[in-house]
Symmetry: C2
Subunit: 212 residues, 2 copies
């Protein structure tokens, strides 16, 4: 079992390796990867040991090989379907970002093409049955049916805090594997469902340091 905190760092390592590949480096050391991601070289090496052999320690990692390994680990080349529960302010902003943003001209940003938001869910009768740029908005009662039909593996929860647990339970029952939770509550789900919680106040808090 790979610790979740290591998995969370993998997209960052992939961005670093993509950047070294763009700059035509053949080899990259754990020191260089550490400098790019802000970790000690020992932390980089320790993280990589969870995934088997990535390259010869002596002269560093082969950039092309490492990139391919990381892309496979993160299933970058597979279509991963995402569902969005809650189409309020945050839900609309996320849909706007995930559906429109990979048209940005900057390769560093924009959602990876293969992460597609294929459906949204809500309870508000005035938006259920409509669509956003081709993405249908269903009533949340149809979550299980649509998760199976669309092969949705990840659900983003953007509902008010008091409704988040009920939504998470529905997701687990529907066979969803992973949840990105924005509501400020700790969700109880079975072990086989992975929950990541995201909190923008952590970002703001670290910025307070610079306000001296």
């Amino acid at each position: 079992r790979i610790p979740d905190v290591v998995v969370r760092r993998m997209p960052l390592y992939l961005r670093a390796v993509e950047d070294f590949a763009r700059r035509e480096h053949e080899v990259v050391s754990s020191q260089e990867l550490g400098d790019w991601t802000g970790l000690t070289p020992a932390q980089v090496r320790k993280d990589f040991t969870f995934f088997g052999e990535f390259g010869k320690q002596g002269i560093g990692y082969n950039v092309k090989f490492l990139r391919q390994q990381l892309r496979e680990i993160l299933r970058i080349s597979e279509n991963v379907h995402v569902g969005l529960v809650g189409f309020g302010n945050l839900g609309r902003a996320l849909a706007h970002y995930l559906i429109d943003s990979h048209v940005t001209d900057n390769p560093e940003f924009g959602s990876p093409d293969k992460l597609r938001v294929t459906a949204a869910f809500d309870v508000d009768e005035s938006i259920v049955g409509t669509d956003y740029r081709g993405m249908p908005i269903f009533h949340v009662d149809r979550l299980s049916e649509i998760v199976h039909e669309h092969g949705i593996k990840i659900i983003v929860i953007a509902v008010p805090a008091r409704h988040a647990q009920a939504v998470a339970t529905k997701c687990a029952e529907a066979g969803v594997k992973a949840i990105l939770n924005f509501a400020p509550v700790t969700l109880n789900v079975p072990d086989e469902v992975k929950v990541h919680h995201t909190d923008l106040t952590l970002e703001l808090q670290s910025l307070a340091f610079y306000t001296a």
Copy 2:
């Protein structure tokens, strides 16, 4: 100078220490802090060396002393004023979250009381001049004037990508110290302005790992 990636980890260390304090631990080791935050004990010790002496290595860190030090570093007890530029989908969701959310009953969530969003800015004439739960919405042309009047130190940028750089430049000229940028563009600002970029697709990408 403390590396920014270390500063970004400080709120996480603070949450860990608050949790140990809640569970009435007197002392906490770098191993325990590492387990909680998902870092190696060596990474924890290395991060802490940037801030001077936090405690005797032998038996670990005194929880109360470490908590106080971290709260001082992150200016937790000072009122830090935040401005929000862009009051569209994301701006409204952030205001809703930062203004309403610290009424949540769960101490682990909710924005730190002292980070207060005191003003929003936009260009849309239909919302300029109105307010959201007491927070006034000004025209972005008044950014510099309001930043001084309110003593705003941090700006959150939630405008479309093509307008983000112009907003960042206005912020730097107005003396803003730190920017949390949501737009998918790299901002050019003078060195004394700190920019953190947040990207929800990194979170989604790491979750793709669990969809096997």
